[in-house]
């Protein structure tokens, strides 16, 4: 019998628990959950505000998940250290938990720049957790003017979620285009148009520098009145516990394909990690739900005594606003090949006979066929890519490849 400790209780933790149980059905698992909620679908917090889901449906797993998997969950406590010498994890109340293996699935935290006067703002929020969403729900009324700082995935999903609840929503960002981490300027302008058509005001190339109660002073000198402030400038991986224990970290906790950190018996998974991105060949923080689950699962299998590599991770995002969808995957570091239609734009980035990445906006049908070309590093000379880029389909592949894909159990 072993003792497994899982630090965190998000999607990576759920993957880890299921991974452990695929190989070790007996040993004890202790889960340390700073949030006082069972594992929930974190990306749904904006859909909650939009009334597209409810708290019950946001549960990621059935109510008996922990019980069925033999987990003890410690809610409302924070992990403060891993002591590798004694083999113990320490919590903020002094509890020491002996471990045989640990998975650090501590996630990330909102980054809040030190704005002048932020302490004078009464109603200010981040948008990362269910509790953030519940607090926003309580604070925003139909008369509220909402200012969101940050036009990235989090800030804009928050804007969409609040759009039916507030009098006005303004989103500002220092970047000259929205979603700058995943879209180029032209694709971003299509999405920006959709947001503006739906009443979201955007102030780009400008950001708040100082606050005075209900007023934001912008870099441009403009003053904006607001009732509710949301700070969505960015997030930072929670690396401190592993870093202080002596593990290698960069922006995230460095892991290999088995999700091992540089410390013996210490694994890490999810938004706190920096793992291999096969599309760029570099280490990257891949803070997205599918990777969190798959990393967590691989970590769990290895902790439980099995062997599993998660060796085809790529960055990817599917995000929609007011019915317009964008999908992106991989890296944009090759030669650009573009397809345009009345439905949207497809941009493919090709290097060394491989599809390295893509941006699709509007026309996203069967995009997974493109994603698998990126993940599997399929030589483009092995298919008719000119046909494939117009319409994603298996007709572009050889009959042999099709038979392999569709003729047996996969």
């Amino acid at each position: 019998m072993k003792n497994y400790v899982v630090i965190g209780n998000g999607i990576a933790a759920a993957g880890c628990i299921e991974g452990i149980r695929s190989t070790d059905k007996e040993s004890g698992i202790t889960v340390i959950s700073e949030e006082r909620h069972a594992v929930y679908c974190r990306p749904l917090i904006s859909y909650y505000l939009e009334n597209k889901t409810d708290i019950q449906k946001m549960n990621y797993r059935p109510e008996d998940f922990y019980q069925k998997n033999g987990c003890r969950v410690i809610y409302g406590k924070r992990t403060v250290r891993i002591d590798c010498a004694s083999g113990e994890v320490g919590l903020d109340d002094g509890t020491l938990l002996p471990y045989d293996a640990v998975c650090c699935a501590a996630g990330s935290s909102p980054f809040v720049p030190p704005f002048d006067g932020l302490d004078t703002v009464e109603k200010k929020f981040s948008f990362m957790t269910l509790d953030d969403a519940l607090a926003l729900e309580a604070a925003v009324t139909e008369n509220s003017e909402v200012l969101i700082v940050g036009a990235g995935l989090i800030g804009l999903k928050c804007a969409e979620g609040l759009s039916g609840r507030a009098a006005g929503i303004t989103v500002c960002d220092l970047s000259d285009h929205i979603l700058s981490s995943i879209l180029d300027a032209e694709c971003a302008s299509l999405m920006q148009k959709r947001l503006e058509e739906n009443g979201i005001k955007l102030m780009l190339g400008d950001t708040a520098v100082r606050f005075d109660r209900n007023t934001a002073l912008m870099k441009s000198g403009v003053k904006i009145h607001f009732d509710v402030l949301v700070l969505a400038v960015g997030v930072r991986p929670n690396i401190a516990i592993v870093k202080e224990a002596g593990g290698e970290t960069n922006r995230g906790i460095i892991v290999n394909d088995r999700m091992e950190t540089t410390l013996t018996d210490i694994y890490a998974a999810g938004d706190c990690t920096e793992g291999n991105d096969v599309s760029s060949g570099t280490k990257r923080v891949l803070a997205l739900l599918p990777n969190a689950y798959m990393q967590g699962y691989a970590a769990g299998v290895n902790m439980g005594g099995g062997s599993m590599a998660f060796d085809n991770a790529v960055p990817m995002n599917s995000i929609g606003f007011f019915g317009l969808h964008a999908m992106t995957a991989g890296s944009y570091n090759g030669e650009l090949d573009e397809e345009r239609s009345e439905n949207g734009i497809k941009r493919f980035y090709i290097k060394d006979d491989r599809l390295k990445g893509f941006i699709l906006i509007g026309d996203t049908q069967r995009a997974g066929i493109y994603t698998s070309l990126v993940r599997e590093r399929t030589p483009l000379s092995s298919l008719d890519f000119d046909q494939q880029k117009k319409t994603a389909a298996y007709t572009a592949f050889s009959p042999e490849k099709r038979r392999k894909k569709f003729g047996g159990v996969v």
């Binding site: 889901t53 797993r61 599918p290 069967r366 995009a367 997974g368 298996y394």
Partner: protein, 159 residues
Amino acid sequence: MTARAKRGGTEINMKRVYVNEEWCLGCRLCEYNCAFANSGMTDMAEALKGKTIYPRIHIEGDDKISYAVSCRHCTDPICVKSCIAGAISKEDGVVRIDKARCVGCLTCVLVCPYGALAPGENGVMQKCELCLQNSCGEPACVRGCPNRAIVYEDRGEAE
């Protein structure tokens, strides 16, 4: 008879829908039979006539070849692991979607290597669930294929 394997006391459906592309005529009857079987209605004309259909099986092809594509019910389904709403699960060998939980984010479309998922009429995702829970009870695409190009059989190793 349904081929089933036992695992941990539960029966697992090992049968899948397969298409023989040499025999597929590209007539799209499978698409209509699929849409009807999942319509919940008893009259085919009433269910489909004059309407845009949203089948869970799709004919693709060119002037030389055609074949039908539907969910492979993968051994290790990436859609299940990727769903941000926890709406997709695999039970007894069948990948299913809980439509009440789906928020229409399309992450499953982004990850499915077969292009087997598409949104239905209301933007909520739908996929082939082998007609096991609708009135047909067995894949309607298979039952209605005039050239027997689509079959429902067990070709695999146990999972």
